[in-house]
Symmetry: C2
Subunit: 348 residues, 2 copies
């Protein structure tokens, strides 16, 4: 449950909140420290972490900046998103997310109640992902210098022994699995933005997937058999597949009818002429693993709350290296065009 | 020497550069990977670091967001600043900075040549500080959604054995040392902004101080004798002193004539009615250590390039706990007012 604070409607972030003096300390105490409290949290310049205790001694380190307009959308807000994005990046490296830092850049005049809701969502999502927010920074920018609030999160994760998923390890014969229906986050943001006067009830898939990845590795005797894990965020599943095809020097053949797409997402894409494969997800993974273990992985995924619609959507072939081919419902094959900025709707 | 790239005048950052597709990869390769190259640098989702090898097994973790307008100023630019800020935060914890991540939020239309100059300054400063930039993220915001470029850096540092500087360890009898003249960065930004039509040649003190801190710890047989180190950034030396007085439950007495202030900084402060103690520094430390070792620390500092004007500026007293008193040139004592947002000129 998200805690709600007692900020009046008209309480706003001021430049003084970002000046490093008394008001900054009060903002940190009243909003961030209250929500993020844990034994490693610091209001000091840096947190001191027992990272040397990590079993493998190897640490994954990743950073991600979040800009999203509107700051809240069906299924989440920028706070939840900023935790999911970094947690999922760590998980995709085969790491257990342990610690996060977060840096806020807030526009003068941003409602304190909204900032509080963002911090509450961050705390709730971090708890669900088993990660601690330990350090942070708050800057306030003048009106018009930043649009609402930007958040940058940076994560430290403990690498699972023997796990070594990588975008360059996809192999001919691998099955390609997606953990749920695609394009949900991008479609939810497009609709929430109301640029297109489309009324559709689309909920973002935004979710932390650390537990999902741990369950996958626990399900296979040989952890190195999970060749590749990627979260399909910016640019969607299509962009991720192109990246993996290029990095692994393999071809990818997708079975179009097998790709799960929610009817409401398909509807919005049809209206706007968009390909769901290029819409961002924020709670979907793309996995590459040998076909022999793929059914076991799908079974594991379908038993978990955020991946009930997991499906095998294609396979890796030694042919047409670096390319992604879509086999359509009527059996014809078409090349999935390589993503370029112009093709992608801007959602962040 | 900063490398200059061959970007034409009119080459600009576009939304496509931030969409996660081919243009994003090109921007990373052409600007960031080129400048930041080192064995641990990743263009992947996360860097894998041998943090478990740190001698003490304890790691310092800190994050800081940088917004500065204008993005370049005499003595540096936002890129240099973003490295110095995080490196210095780590150094102040008694840690040797090892790894940095950086996240960019760039306004559509920002000149590529300027972005390149920022990345070059980051690479040069990181090299000078002995730290590796290993992971990053690039987002592009629409015109007007962000003012120029924001950078968030996050750092990992290896704690020096036995070093335990802290804002709560200042003790009655400690000498207070500042490593150079105060208020330079804040004054440089105020002048560079041209809001006040003041023409003064003021160079920011922006500098990485990791080597300075290492030299200080090497100069004393008992590292724990250095009680407190803080970099006097946002809010300046005055804010830092108030924080330490409060955290350590002690009083601070400053010797006003001993505080080094450059004549040009004093001039600008006089014109604008500002107190140099409340202007930001970006290359100055405030140290607390017993008076017996203070001369040795000052001698060590004066032999180093970024702290030639180091000076003892006051001492800690058991009286007036939590307060900062200024002893003036004519021997009278005045209370240095507690910083509050309204008093501080906004420089970020």
């Amino acid at each position: 449950m998200i805690m709600t604070a007692e900020f009046p409607d008209d309480a706003r972030v001021t430049l003084a909140h970002g000046a490093g003096g008394r008001q900054t300390a009060a903002l940190i105490a009243r909003v961030f420290a209250r929500h993020f409290q844990n034994p490693d949290f610091t209001a000091d310049d840096a947190a001191i972490l027992p990272v040397g205790n990590f079993a493998t001694g190897r640490t994954a380190f990743t950073t991600d900046g979040f800009i999203v307009s509107p700051w809240q959308f069906p299924g989440g807000n920028i706070g939840k998103l900023s935790i999911c994005g970094t947690v999922n990046d760590l998980a995709c490296m085969g790491a257990v997310p342990r610690y996060l830092s977060c840096a806020f850049q807030i526009e003068e005049g941003f409602p304190l109640r909204d900032l509080d809701a963002i911090a509450a969502a961050m705390a709730e999502t971090a708890k669900a992902a088993g990660v601690r927010i330990v350090a942070g920074d708050t800057k306030v920018a003048g009106r018009g210098q930043v649009d609402g609030v930007f958040i940058t999160t940076t994560g430290l994760g403990e690498l699972l022994p023997d796990a070594e998923p990588s975008g360059s390890r996809a192999e001919a014969g691998d099955a390609i699995i997606v953990t749920g229906d695609v394009g949900r986050h991008g479609a939810a943001i497009l609709v929430a933005r109301r640029d297109f006067a489309i009324d559709a009830a689309i909920t973002s898939d935004c979710a932390p997937l650390a537990a999902t990845v741990r369950a996958l590795f626990a399900a296979v005797p040989d952890k190195s058999a999970i060749h590749t894990i990627r979260d399909a965020t910016r640019g969607g599943v299509g962009t991720v597949l192109h990246e993996i095809a290029a990095e692994s020097h393999v071809g990818i053949e997708l079975d179009a009818p097998a790709i799960p797409v929610a009817p409401e997402v398909r509807g919005v894409c049809g209206l706007l002429g968009l390909e769901p494969l290029y819409l961002a997800c924020e709670g979907r993974l793309v996995l590459f693993a040998p076909q022999a273990i793929a059914p076991k992985l799908v079974e594991t995924l379908r038993a978990l709350p955020d991946s009930r619609q997991a499906a095998i959507i294609g396979h890796v072939t030694p042919d047409f290296s670096g390319r992604v081919v879509l086999r359509t419902e009527i059996g014809t094959k078409t090349l999935l065009p390589e993503p370029s900025g112009e093709l992608l709707p801007r959602i962040c």
